[in-house]
């Protein structure tokens, strides 16, 4: 080997976004992108445990689950689905705008995404509130609800449906809140003009995360609200 001299002088003319251990921005972006996808894989497994529990218990307690599913507010759930899909569109537009150095458009789309995300959480709050008022929250205050059609009490295991409902939507909502935090961080950086054609990796990565959280909801909505439903 050559004699040990100073070596850390490689990136004197490097762009400011380039971290010292990457040869160029393309490589750095590749690493960030792969890292984000790997992280999303872990998220799939994280939610996967609850999807498994849902699949098993829906099969063993079919009548309880279908009856309890009927008690969810389909209109609010459907509205929320649309809200989230539109927020994915605005997020995608933010990624597009940031990659073309359009600062104002980037900020606009990011703020729209935040508003839509906040709307989702607001509607979710209304839904949760209903559940509390009707004693449909599992635990000591749970009252076994009546079937909407027959007015007979549902099987005892309807509580399990609501356990899973709150775990799954609750964890999804926590991911939404984290997403809102990330997008607001992007807004600050975008306003400073940090994103450009050369470098918009953070917007791209948060975009992936945001889409992923949306996709979770795309699965949650039919599983919880639609499957086996017999009233609208």
């Amino acid at each position: 080997m050559a004699s040990p001299t100073h070596a850390a002088l490689a990136h004197d003319d490097a762009p400011p976004e380039l971290r010292h251990h990457f040869p160029d921005l393309a490589k750095q972006r590749e690493a960030s992108s792969l890292g984000m996808w790997v992280f999303l894989v872990t998220e799939v497994l994280f939610f996967g445990g609850m999807f498994l529990a849902y699949a098993i218990y829906r099969e063993t307690h079919r009548r309880a689950f279908e009856g309890a599913s009927n008690l969810l507010d389909l209109k609010l759930g459907a509205t929320n689905t649309i809200v989230l899909i539109v927020s994915s569109l605005t997020m995608a537009l933010a990624v597009w705008a940031s990659g073309r150095s359009r600062k104002n458009a980037t900020v606009l789309f990011l703020v729209l995404t935040m508003l839509l995300g906040a709307t989702f959480l607001g509607i979710k709050y209304v839904e949760y509130k209903q559940k509390f008022e009707r004693h449909e929250v599992p635990g000591p205050h749970f009252v076994v609800p009546q079937d909407e059609e027959t007015h007979q009490p549902l099987p005892r295991q309807s509580e399990m449906f609501f356990s899973l409902y709150f775990c799954m939507t609750g964890l999804h909502a926590i991911h939404m809140i984290i997403g809102l935090g990330l997008v607001s961080w992007l807004v600050v950086r975008a306003r400073r003009g940090e994103f450009s054609e050369r470098y918009n990796t953070p917007v791209d990565m948060v975009g992936l995360y945001w889409h992923f959280v949306d996709i979770i909801w795309i699965y949650l909505f039919p599983l919880l609200y639609l499957l086996g439903r017999h009233t609208l």
Binding site: P4, H20, A31, V38, L52, A64, G139, C167
Partner: protein, 545 residues
């Protein structure tokens, strides 16, 4: 030491990662993978010591048949502390987070891991999670065992289940982030010419481990979250009274916790592959098979969890399938053992301390693996289930396997990590003391378990006492064996001889940079032009020059 390179009397003060900057801040806020490895080293050593003290208390209680030292509940809390500290805060992070962190970038010719700040974050997560769990275990106590089986953990236990689970949950993210970092690093940061089949087998082992970390760990995270939710909010996911199924917990738990065993053993195998070839002075036999068997073990690891549940009421057909799949794990494991043996065959073997540990590993791992086949047999498992036979089996894998490899690796790379040589005589003594102490501790447990002594009780019938006394005596020797390296590693940092850049004459990029390496790892980015372990061409001579 075998090297003939003269050690200069006054070493020119060249900048390395240890003297690059000083002060607590420069360590706690570092993003240098080598410094983070040192932080991990200190952390896991601390947790190992806690787990070791708990193990000593367990062996103390089992010296006599009567429950005369601790009450049953206290005893339960002690073995739970031992299990949780050792599994989640020592064995899982030990080799990947210490040696992997230090070596992966060096071995592939990179300046750092892909995400240095996430790397530091994962260390903080381990520390925070570990301290929360430790506080819960000591202050409140937990008596469920490290397995948290429901409904005991959710309904009946008076221990601090939720707080401990929170600690493990946080540390889980440490493990996930380390795995994520390794995967991205190995994909994107390899030096020019370092193709996948030129990558050292250590890196292949880390890659396979990382796959398990990212696929398995989220499942234990959600499982513990559900256990916590059940205790705090009375949800009923695992509660039969609400239509839940406690066995679902076991499925979810072992879906992570069986692969977790491979998070512990794959890095150990990765270390052994390096040690065996370096001290045989021969290219490793069957490079592609060893690399591929790591991936095969990672894949199979997710298909065998049901063998923990042969007596939990799962269907006999599920049991059959899990039994067959568990036997299949023997194939890639045996591929490795045979290839290491073939590497040693007709090599110019030098029995230095790292190889002593490696040979200890090969013997003990083979023993632990073969007894695993007993446990994978449906009929035999009913006889030995929840006895000391299983305790002995997994300690042969985890202690005889992982810790032997960890110590072997620590000795092999210590000159690179610290820039100092450890004392050869004492290191050989410690290798022998550990090997003897280990076998004296755990071999009697195979017998006493086969004779029917159940695990997790603080009392036992008198006829088992002789074997238990042997086990406790062995544990005392083992404990001394672990203290010796701790003392001389610390001693060598101050008084040890300076190490050459390549004291073993080994191949591998990590030996072609100074000991200890500079912060940026390599003076010039290396270019790789050939296969690893090229001992035939005398490339090590070049490296020494």
């Amino acid at each position: 030491m075998s090297t003939s390179e003269p050690v200069p009397a006054v070493r020119p003060a060249r900048p390395d990662y240890l003297n690059a900057s000083y002060g607590v801040r420069s360590w706690l806020l570092t993003s240098d993978h080598k410094r983070i490895a040192i932080l991990y080293l200190i952390t896991v050593t601390f947790f190992f010591a806690i787990g070791g003290v708990a193990a000593a208390l367990v062996r103390l209680e089992l010296l006599t048949p009567a429950g005369d030292v601790f009450q049953a509940e206290t005893y339960n809390k002690i073995f739970t502390t031992h299990g949780i500290m050792m599994v989640f805060f020592f064995l899982i992070p030990a080799i990947p987070a210490v040696l992997g962190n230090f070596l992966v970038p060096l071995m592939i010719g990179a300046k750092d891991l892909a995400f240095p700040r996430i790397n530091l974050l994962s260390w903080y997560l381990l520390v925070i999670g570990g301290l929360i769990a430790l506080w819960a275990l000591i202050h409140g106590g937990l008596d469920t065992g490290w397995t948290f089986y429901t409904p005991y953990s959710t309904v009946y236990s008076n221990g601090w289940v939720v707080v401990t689970a929170v600690g493990i949950f946080i540390a889980g993210f440490s493990s996930i982030l380390t795995g994520l970092n390794f995967i991205v690093t190995l994909h994107t940061m390899r030096a020019p010419g370092m193709t996948w089949t030129r990558m050292p087998l250590f890196c292949w082992g880390m890659y396979a481990t990382a796959i398990i970390q990212i696929l398995g760990t989220p499942v234990i995270a959600i499982t513990l979250l559900l256990v916590g939710a059940e205790r705090l909010f009375h949800l009923g996911i695992f509660d039969p009274a609400q239509g839940g199924d406690p066995v679902l917990f076991q499925h979810l738990f072992w879906f992570y916790s069986h692969p977790a065993v491979y998070i512990m053993i794959l890095p150990a195998m990765a270390v052994i592959s390096e040690l065996v070839t370096a001290f045989s002075r021969k290219p490793i036999f069957g490079y592609k098979f060893i690399a591929g068997s790591s991936i095969a073990i990672a894949a199979l690891s997710f298909l065998v969890w049901g063998h923990h549940m042969f007596v939990s009421g799962q269907s006999v057909y599920a049991g059959l399938v899990f039994s067959i799949l568990s036997f299949m794990v023997a194939i890639p494991s045996a591929i490795k053992v045979f290839n290491w043996t073939a590497t040693l065959y007709k090599g110019s073997v030098s029995y230095q301390t790292p190889l002593l540990y490696a040979l200890g590993f090969i013997g003990l791992f083979t023993f632990g693996g073969l007894t695993g086949l007993f446990l994978a047999s449906l009929g035999l498992d009913i006889h030995v289930h929840d006895t000391y036979f299983i305790v002995a089996h997994f300690h042969y894998i985890m202690v005889g396997g992982t810790i032997m490899a960890y110590l072997g690796g620590m000795h092999y790379w210590w000159p690179k990590i610290s820039g100092k040589l450890y004392p050869e005589y004492w290191s050989r003594v410690s290798a022998w003391v550990i090997f003897i102490g280990f076998n004296l501790t755990f071999f009697p447990q195979f017998i006493v378990g086969y004779l029917g002594m159940p695990r997790r009780y603080h009392q036992y019938p008198e006829e088992f006492q002789v074997l238990n006394v042997m086990s406790t005596a062995g544990a005392s020797i083992l404990g001394i064996g672990y203290l010796i390296p701790l003392v001389y590693f610390i001693w060598s940092m101050r008084y040890g001889k300076d190490a050459a850049d390549n004291p073993w004459g080994a191949t591998g990029l990590e030996w072609q940079t100074p000991s200890p390496p500079p912060t940026e790892n390599f003076v010039e980015t290396p270019v790789v032009s050939g296969r690893p372990y090229d001992y035939a061409t005398g490339r090590e001579e070049v490296a020494l020059g």
